[in-house]
Amino acid sequence: MADVVATAEIPEIVPTRLLNDQQRVALLRWMLHARIFDEVTIRLYRQGKMFGSVFAQIGHEAISVGSAAVLQPEDAIFPMHRDLGAHFVRGVPLRTIALNHLARQGSMMRGTDGTGHYADPQRKLYGNISHLGAMIPVAVGYALAAQLKGEPIVVLNYIGEGGAQTGEFHEGLNFAAVRKAPFVLIIENNQYAYSTPTTEEYACKKLSDRAIGYGIPGETIDGTDVERVYEATFYAVERARNGEGPSLIEAICMRMRGHAEHDNASYVPRELLEYWKKRDPLLRYQRFLIDNGILSEAEIQQMRREIEAETVRVLDEVLQLPFPPAEEAFKNVFL
């Protein structure tokens, strides 16, 4: 795998006609937010100041941002654990994200859970649980209800290529296909599930080939090209909204960090990382925006500085906050 990839070409960003320059700048901003949140939390983790695990999504920015950006506010989104970008796209304030991640007082989950597991029903965002695959049938059920109620919404759900090996993946997607549910599932194939390479996860060439078995469209795309992700998601969402049923998209990327920050990922060949570094979804898009005269280098650096300052400030503030009080443990087991 490593040597095949090392000699592979780095594809150009393929601009889509579906986006205007203002939208492109928004995409970059969201990608920067996701990247910088990771950079800052990684730093805090190293300093021993973080709470909980840091599942960096570096390398995934184009997938969660490019796809979530397609949705309308009424549409629902069920992210996985490397979809921080989607939370920003949905308009969840940085402070809210930080409160939930760090399980601080004021978190929507009252300290009962952390990371991106929260739900923000107003923004139609429903977080994952740890059990991989568990949310696929749930997201399908959400889509089914919309269909039954005659609401023209679409549900966008994500899963890792590792999570795509759970039984719930199959049951959920098949159910969606049979009912023609307005559902789009994106597999974020980042080459690894913890330490396990894809060769030990599945034996097919492309995970999108599975779509044939479900009788739905499927395609594999470059998950490091945000324009490509936007376009593929756009057509899948349009199809779902028109009552033509679900689609499966496999977006290829690379997990650029360990599984979480405790893991130095020494099992990942260095050449593989070197190659994917050149395909960095953020840097490639920055280069594209500069080359096309949409933003200048200076403007991007300015954006970066602003977002970084804001992220550092918010995380520092939230880390100063207490955890919710012990009594919260005894509430809401039932409503």
Partner: protein, 324 residues
């Protein structure tokens, strides 16, 4: 005798059985080169190869179902759940296939499903669960929950040699916390044998897993207050060594049962019912239980501490029972 942590003792048992019996093999997520999330199988793939240390896809139903099938075909699989919380994804295989095979077909299913459980690490509701009661409630499954390294080794070897499906719970808070001398080589602790880890005359604490250590701490503190407390580690929930428990209660006449799992329909209820049934006339005080509050295990430390049973809560309850 070498000194080992609970984790090392578990590795030692696995290695010993794999060297001794070619039929024993391992399967689970990230267990080969990586050595597993907690490193229980570190170095195993180098010694036993990729055929006997199998990395699986994230498919717990296939791991457990596959283990059952391999057992039907003459092998002895030991399956690792990366966290025991994920055993839910293989629940059907355990409670419907594995648990009924002896009864229906008269065939052995010599599998072990093992992995880390328990809270106290701010790991949230999906990485902290104590799931043993679900399985203790399923006839046909044996349930083991060691508290000490030597017991862990001896019980795991017994579990691997047992012709029935055995669930083996390892509290991750104990993995590297306690060390003790562990017999080298052959060391078997029969399933269904409890152990009095501290003898006493005034009160029995019946415990398993991490709470055995909490009970020992509480017993030491009560000793300074003049009470002699016995601590019984049941070690296996199924089969339960009822005789040792009943005998202890008959001698001390007072009993507190404790586990980290939630209270309602927890295994403590079963122990309490047996004591009420078999030793009622020996009791000088009501049977009391100290367990987790009936809620998912929360993540933020103040909530988690409030939810889980603590030494303070156990101490308090023991004092009440002693003063009754």
């Amino acid at each position: 005798m070498p000194t080992m942590t609970l984790l090392q003792a578990i590795s030692d048992a696995l290695r010993y059985e794999m060297r001794r019996d070619e039929r024993v093999f391992l399967l689970g997520e990230d267990i080969a080169e990586f050595g597993g999330a907690f490193k229980v199988t570190k170095g195993f793939v180098e010694e036993f190869g990729k055929q006997r240390v199998i990395n699986t896809p994230i498919s717990e139903a296939a791991i457990i179902g596959g283990a059952i099938g391999a057992a039907l075909n003459g092998l002895i699989p030991v399956a690792e759940m990366q966290f025991m919380d994920f055993i839910t994804n293989g629940f059907n295989q355990l409670v419907n296939v594995a648990a009924t095979t002896a009864y229906r077909w008269g065939l052995p299913v010599p599998i072990v499903v093992r992995g880390p459980v328990g809270g106290g690490m701010s790991a949230g509701p999906f990485h902290s669960r104590s799931a043993e009661a679900w399985f203790a409630h399923t006839p046909g499954l044996k349930v083991v929950f060691p508290a000490f390294p030597a017991d862990a080794k001896g019980l795991l070897i017994a579990a691997i040699r047992d012709p029935n499906p055995v669930l083996f719970f390892e509290h991750k808070g104990l993995y590297r916390k306690i060390r003790e001398d562990v017999p080298e080589g052959e060391h078997v602790v029969p399933l269904g044998t409890a152990r009095i880890v501290r003898p006493g005359a005034d009160l029995s604490i019946i415990a398993y897993g991490r709470m055995v250590h909490t009970a020992l701490e509480v017993a030491a503190r009560l000793e300074s207050e003049g009470a002699s407390v016995e601590v019984v580690d049941i070690r296996t929930l199924v089969p339960l060594d009822e005789a040792t428990v009943i005998d202890s209660v008959k001698r001390t006449n007072r009993v507190v049962i404790t586990h980290e799992a939630t209270l309602t329909a927890g295994f403590g209820a079963e122990i309490a019912a047996r004591i009420a049934d078999k030793a009622f006339e020996y009791l000088d005080a009501p049977i009391r239980r100290v367990a987790a509050f009936d809620a998912p295990v929360p993540m933020a430390p103040p909530l988690e501490q409030a939810m889980l049973p603590s030494a303070e809560k156990l101490l308090d309850t023991c004092r009440q029972v002693l003063e009754y």
